[in-house]
């Protein structure tokens, strides 16, 4: 990476040139850091610093309504959270939503990518329409689906053959989670399909042709040629979407407000801080949420065994 880092013994004559080169690379280093510094400072200012503050506050009993009563309680907030079944139920919901939405999106997104890849007409129309769910505000998507599933104003009950007209989707946990997943899947599948489409277009036609000539069936070509060659693209898409789904908040806030046990870990954290003013417990939740995301990212990267920075860019 850095030029002049390795300096093998060379004839005296090039000594001056080499010194000039290191001088230059040092200048380049300085300029590089000067240019990235504002962005790096800005990114860390609103993430690293508050995160350390959350870590600090999480050790205190601290209610915003009674700031004078703040007292050090050590790890008690964490104990309180981790021994409360609510936290585990909410984490369970979040993981459920993450696994279901990413799995469904991967399958549907892949199918969409295959169609778009082979499409010879109406490409602009497809591209435009696929970007609409991507661009739409999540809150609007949540409203659209909430109304679609609603008892009074929704068409879903009338259209689905095996569901009674008076079925209340938001009346119990699993149907409500289903509706939440539908909204999430609808909005984010297009993003997934675009990432997969980019991966798909990297596969050489020659390789597919060769497999075809050798008598591979469509199914074999899919599993033996296409998917293995798209690993990097699939990995990036799954990682980004999984972590995004784990943070699910907007859809739940609009569609159920966490009623019927549909709360997510993010929603619980929000509720403690903003609605209950429990900054101590809320901070402990923030730290746990952060650690969960790190853990999921770590597991996914290990699972796919791909260097992410290398997958996205040579860096």
């Amino acid at each position: 990476m850095a030029t002049g880092a390795v300096t093998a013994p060379r004839p005296q004559a090039s000594d001056r040139a080499r010194r000039a080169a290191t001088e230059r690379s040092r200048g380049e280093n300085r300029l590089g850091w000067k240019l990235v510094a504002p962005a790096v400072v800005m990114m860390l200012l609103v993430t690293a610093y508050p995160m350390f503050r959350a870590l600090y506050l999480s050790l205190y009993k601290y209610r915003l309504t009674a700031p004078e009563d703040r007292e050090f309680v050590g790890l008690n907030n964490y104990l309180a959270v981790l021994t409360d079944s609510l936290w585990w139920i909410d984490v369970g919901n979040t993981v459920f939503i993450m696994v279901v939405t990413v799995a469904v999106e991967l399958v549907i997104g892949f199918a969409f990518a295959m169609v778009m890849h082979r499409l010879i007409f109406a490409r602009g129309v497809v591209r435009t329409s696929i970007l609409i769910p991507y661009g739409i505000i999540t809150v609007v998507s949540a409203f659209a689906w909430q109304f679609a599933f609603s008892l009074n104003n929704g068409f879903v009950n009338g259209w689905l053959p095996f569901v009674g007209d008076d079925f209340n989707w938001f009346g119990s946990k699993w149907p409500a989670l289903f509706a939440i997943c539908v909204s999430e899947i609808w909005k984010t599948t297009p993003f997934m399909s675009l990432l997969l489409l980019a991966g798909l277009s990297q596969i050489s036609e020659d390789m597919l042709e060769a497999a075809k000539v050798d008598g591979a069936t469509w199914w074999q070509r899919l599993w033996k040629v296409i998917i293995p060659n798209m690993r990097a693209a699939i990995m990036v898409a799954v990682l980004f979407r999984a972590l995004d789904a784990f943070r699910i908040f907007d859809n739940i806030y609009v569609m159920t407000r966490g009623a019927q046990g549909t709360e997510s870990a993010s929603f619980l954290t929000y509720r403690q801080v903003i609605e209950q003013f429990e900054l101590g417990i809320g901070s402990a939740l923030s730290v746990l949420l952060f650690l969960s995301v790190m853990l999921i990212a770590f597991l996914l990267v290990k699972l796919f065994r791909v260097d992410l920075a290398a997958a996205r860019q040579e860096g």
Binding site: N29, M51, A54, G135, F143, F191, L195, A233, Q313
Partner: protein
């Protein structure tokens, strides 16, 4: 012939998937408030009316939220893209130690659980007087759009034939001319694409919008929409909400219609190298 039919079916399915819910919200927005309150489970309105749109347009809070959203998103986008351009230029063109560190920081922040910042920021912003102000939202929006902008822009900048700058200088152009006449036109599409994606992100934000504001002074549209619901969730003004939703979706549809090619290029840039 068979592949063409297959393609046609696939095409229709994709279009249905993408546009059907939008059509639903659109149709719903023309139902009268009375019809929605009485319950109207059919897809199309019985008696289409524009009253809902009139009501939304006459709503001061909604107007204020629209202004907030546009202002905050545009300022955050501009600042974020400027900082990202500097950083991406360094990453794409210069050889400096710690390049990977910068990219890793950006990546880590792109995956950051936003909600975990709500508590500490809520606390700090109130002390600093940033709570419920435009800068109070612009700052976190910048931090969270920078990773996307940096990744997109450095992927774009990598593709620029930088030798052309020297070639222009050899041909007698000054350094400034070479930059302005050669590099700027080449880099502009990338910068523009990054700006669109950044704007989408800021426009879509909900978490910061509801937690770091308390009045219409700074509350953006998504938060305002959620508060439209009122205290009684089961009697929400469905069709009015649909009309408001349509109105905030229209700018997105216009941007998508105009720049679809650029947006797709931006979203997928750098996603599949290697």
């Amino acid at each position: 012939m068979r592949t063409k039919v297959g393609q046609g079916i696939g095409l229709v399915l994709i279009l249905l998937w993408c546009l059907f819910p939008v059509a639903w919200i659109f149709s719903l927005s023309f139902k009268s408030v009375e019809e929605a309150a009485a319950g109207s489970p059919q897809f199309l309105p019985k008696d289409p009316t524009l009253d809902t749109y009139r009501e939304v347009l006459a709503n001061d809070d909604f107007q204020r939220a629209l202004i907030n959203s546009f202002g905050i998103s545009l300022i955050a986008t501009t600042l974020s893209v400027i900082l990202a351009t500097l950083a991406a230029y360094a990453i794409a063109r210069l050889d400096f130690t710690g390049k990977r560190v910068v990219l890793s920081i950006a990546l880590a922040i792109a995956m950051f659980p936003v909600v975990s910042l709500v508590g500490p920021l809520f606390d700090q912003w109130r002390v600093l007087g940033l709570f419920d102000t435009w800068p109070g939202l612009i700052i976190p929006y910048m931090s969270f759009t920078l990773p996307l902008a940096i990744w997109t822009l450095s992927a774009f900048f990598r593709e620029i034939p930088w030798e052309m700058e020297q070639a222009a200088q050899v041909d007698g152009a000054t350094a400034w001319q070479a930059f302005r006449k050669v590099i700027v036109p080449l880099a502009a599409p990338g910068v523009f694409t990054a700006a669109i994606l950044t704007f989408f992100f800021a426009w879509n934000d909900f978490v910061f919008g509801i937690s770091l504001t308390s009045t219409t002074d700074a509350r953006p549209v998504p938060a305002q929409l959620a508060f439209f619901v009122g205290p009684d969730q089961f009697n929400a003004p469905t069709s009015t909400l649909a009309a408001a939703s349509m109105m905030v979706t229209v700018p997105i549809i216009i941007i998508v219609l105009l720049f679809q090619r650029k947006i797709v290029a931006g979203l997928t840039s750098g996603a599949v190298k290697g």
